[in-house]
Symmetry: C2
Subunit: 83 residues, 2 copies
C-alpha cells in the first residue's frame, strides 16, 4: 500500500550513447576534456561524467558544450544516430 514507485525518466542507454557521440565530436575538434571544460568554465570532471553518460545533464550544459565546440545544437543531434 506504500506510495507508488516514482518513475524515472532517465534513460541510461541513451545517455551512454549520447556521451560517446559528444566525445567523438569533441575529439574531432581536437580538444581535450580539460580544454573544453576551461572554455565552458566547468570542472573537467563534469565533462567526463557527461561523456561517460553517468549524469542526465541539463540542456544548458549541452548548449554550452555545443557552443564551445562550434557546432549548432541541431547539428549536434542530427549527427547523432537515434535508435
Amino acid at each position: 500500500m506504500g506510495k507508488e514507485k516514482r518513475k524515472n525518466i532517465r534513460d541510461d542507454e541513451f545517455l551512454k550513447e549520447l556521451g560517446v557521440h559528444f566525445r567523438k565530436v569533441r575529439e574531432s575538434k581536437g580538444l581535450t576534456q580539460q580544454e573544453l571544460a576551461n572554455r565552458i568554465d566547468v570542472e573537467v570532471m563534469q565533462i567526463s561524467r557527461v561523456e561517460r553518460g553517468t549524469v542526465n545533464t541539463s540542456i544548458c550544459m549541452i548548449k554550452e558544450i555545443a557552443d564551445n565546440l562550434n557546432i549548432q545544437l541541431s547539428e549536434l543531434f542530427s549527427s547523432f544516430k537515434e535508435n
Copy 2:
C-alpha cells in the same frame, strides 16, 4: 580571500525561448500539457515549468518530450531558431 563565486551555466533567456518553441511544437500536434504529461508519465506541472523556461531540464526529459511528440531530437532543434 573568499571563495570564488560559482558560475552558473544556466541561461534563462535560452530556456525561455526553448520553452516557447516546445509549446509551439506541442500545440501543432494538438496535445494539451496534460495529455503530453500522461504519455511521458510525469506531472503536468513539469511540462508547464519546461515550457515557461523556469527549469533547466534534463536531456532525457527533452528526449521524452520529443519522442512523445513524434519528432526527432534533431528536428526539434533544427526547427528552433538559435541566436
